[in-house]
């Protein structure tokens, strides 16, 4: 059985969060009444000319710098020619062989290029409504037409659907943090296409790739890419060839279908846009873009969490790639430090617990759990003042009602039972008495047999006892009994 390695590259379109469109002064909008944000330029009226939005250029440079790209000293806009009702001029102003940014890397994926362009308008389908003869109708809303877009193209460095999803999440966080886009997949301000191919594991030759279009959520990206990988493997196993084509993934049916192309003969006839002059990245422009960037981007933050706080690579990324989690974590860390110190790894273990309880879409800062409370809880766990099980219970109460974990522990009597507590010793004796066979095995050196005895004590103490302490006590008493 051949093992296959998927090879995946992503093409991401990001709508920039400028006030006005790429080439005219019409305001950006989402969900407004149709065709109220148009002018001669973005309607493609005869005689109108484009003028480049300065902020869009700065945002483009910020993205390039954040992704470690080389910013072109001089770049050009081109016309990409094709006919479609959502393209008012019959060409899209885009960048071609001299894009704004080249090269770069985010996480473990290399960036091929980043360029600027204008978005198409929105084509709405009307069906055959009200018409007796003739074709189905559609209609165009030009509000979105001309919105500044950045296209980010990666190298084919991604090798699994999960990695594709995780990396896109990193990109999204990065873009969100630098403040250049809403990066909302549902609203279309972040759109992702994937180039997918598979090859026998270990082979250096690339297989034929297909382009999977416009997956509008992280989940659909992962599922779509997985489905396409399976489809390609299926074809290869059946002795058929993968055809280079553009495909559409239907998230409802899970099916993959070829997409009708916009221009049956793909020939975009790119040529330099004569209505615009070249773009030169001056030192002043680069400095302004650099200055507008946050001090630390998510990939750097993850590296720091790993390096300085000793978090595992996976945990560091889980936190850093979601700025809200990382911010919360660092606030809790600071609060803990002020309170005598909290172990970062222990604290980081409690963030996923918190997320699980408040829902994965919510910012923990907006929950009832104050960062200092989580830090206090982690400190108590680390100091064995409260058992893990009891701490989970405390966290649930914090999520529900807020408050101080120490107070909750005290009030509810959830504090860890100590070894000196007679009650605990008595419980251990009862556990041994309830299962002499297990006790005998423990005494004989089979430590695996200790589980049921520990479980007995845990149940009886409702999780307040510390597992390590119970284990120690059981072993002592079994030995004494022998």
């Amino acid at each position: 059985m051949t093992e296959y390695e998927p090879v995946i590259g992503l093409e991401i379109h990001v709508q920039l969060k400028t006030r006005t469109k790429m080439f005219c002064g019409c305001e950006l909008s989402f969900g407004d009444s149709p065709n109220i944000h148009t002018c001669p330029v973005c309607l493609g009226l005869p005689g109108a000319l484009p003028v480049v939005n300065e902020r869009a250029i700065r945002f483009g440079m910020m993205i390039g710098l954040a992704l470690g790209c080389e910013i072109a000293e001089r770049s050009l806009f081109h016309r990409k020619n094709y006919f479609y009702p959502d393209l008012p001029k019959g060409y899209q102003i885009s960048q071609y062989d001299v894009p704004l940014c080249r090269g770069g890397r985010l996480g473990d994926v290399r960036i091929h290029r980043v360029h600027l362009e204008e978005d198409a308008a929105k084509l709405n389908h009307l069906g055959a409504s009200g018409r007796i003869h003739g074709s189905d109708r559609s209609w165009v809303d030009f509000n979105r037409g001309g919105t500044p877009l950045v296209e980010i193209v990666t190298e084919p460095d991604i090798h699994s659907p999960e990695q594709a999803r995780e990396w896109l999440s990193l990109l999204r966080t990065t873009l969100k943090q630098i403040g250049v886009s809403d990066v909302n997949m549902e609203e279309g301000s972040l759109r992702c296409d994937a180039n997918v191919s598979v090859r026998p594991a270990g082979s250096a030759v690339l297989g034929t790739k297909t382009e999977l279009k416009n997956m509008n959520s992280f989940r659909f990206l992962e599922r779509g890419v997985r489905a396409e990988i399976q489809r390609q493997i299926g074809l290869i196993e059946a002795g058929e060839a993968v055809v280079q084509e553009t495909l559409h993934y239907d998230p409802v049916s899970g099916g993959i279908t070829p997409l009708r192309s916009k221009e049956e003969a793909h020939d975009y006839r790119y040529f330099p846009e004569p209505d615009l002059v070249p773009l030169v990245a001056t030192d002043a422009m680069l400095a302004a873009a650099r200055e507008a960037l946050p001090a630390e981007l998510p990939a750097e933050r993850a590296a720091r969490f790993e390096r300085e706080l000793g978090l595992s690579a996976g945990r560091a990324r889980d936190l850093a790639f979601r700025a809200d989690l990382a911010d919360y974590f660092e606030r809790a860390l600071a609060a803990g430090a002020a309170d005598g110190g909290v172990d970062p790894v222990e604290l980081s273990n409690w963030i996923p617990q918190l997320v699980e309880r408040i829902g994965s879409d919510r910012d923990p800062a907006e929950s009832n759990v104050a960062p200092e409370s989580l830090a206090a809880l982690a400190t108590m766990v680390k100091a064995r003042e409260v058992s893990r099980d009891a701490a989970r219970e405390v966290l649930s109460r914090l999520v529900a009602d807020g408050g101080d974990p120490r107070a909750i522990v005290a009030r509810e009597g959830l504090g860890a039972l100590s070894a000196e507590d007679d009650g605990l010793g008595e419980l251990v004796d009862r556990a041994i008495a309830s299962d002499p066979a297990a006790a005998e095995q423990v005494r004989a050196g089979n430590l695996k047999a200790i589980g049921p005895l520990v479980g007995y004590v845990m149940r009886e103490t409702k999780g307040r006892a510390d597992g390590a302490t119970i284990t120690r006590l059981i072993r002592e008493r079994v030995r004494q009994a022998g």
């Binding site: 400028t18 006030r19 006005t20 005219c24 002064g25 019409c26 305001e27 009444s33 149709p34 065709n35 109220i36 944000h37 148009t38 002018c39 001669p40 309607l43 003028v51 480049v52 939005n53 300065e54 902020r55 869009a56 250029i57 001089r74 050009l76 006919f83 479609y84 009702p85 084509l123 709405n124 389908h125 009307l126 003739g134 074709s135 189905d136 109708r137 559609s138 209609w139 165009v140 809303d141 030009f142 009708r260 221009e263 049956e264 003969a265 020939d267 006839r269 040529f271 330099p272 004569p274 615009l276 002059v277 070249p278 773009l279 030169v280 001056t282 422009m285």
Partner: protein
């Protein structure tokens, strides 16, 4: 130089429909013009940079400040097929 198939291909790219007569004529006329134009390909231009702009300026940029848009009625006035929803009607691209 330009054959029928090429002319048809170019016409399709340009969204022009040519009659049989136009097609023949276009092939002949374009070939004749291209024959004259071809001469520039004999020039030695290997190290010559292309000129796409004669104006020697760069970075002509606009502040990101909103300007008034057209009223919808104004935008739609010349539309061949305005639709009630407030847009420009077209035949559906999906329809054959």
């Amino acid at each position: 130089m330009l054959d029928r198939a090429q002319v048809l291909h170019v016409a399709r790219l340009a969204r022009l429909e040519l009659t049989e007569v136009e097609l023949e004529r276009m092939a002949a006329e374009l070939s004749h013009v291209l024959e004259h134009i071809e001469k520039i390909r004999e020039l030695d231009l290997d190290d010559v940079p292309p000129t796409s702009h004669v104006v020697d300026v760069v970075n002509v940029l606009r502040h990101d400040d909103p300007e008034p848009s057209l009223r919808r009625e104004t935008a739609l006035r010349p539309a061949p097929e305005p639709v009630d929803a407030g847009g420009f009607g077209v035949p559906s691209p999906a329809a054959a």
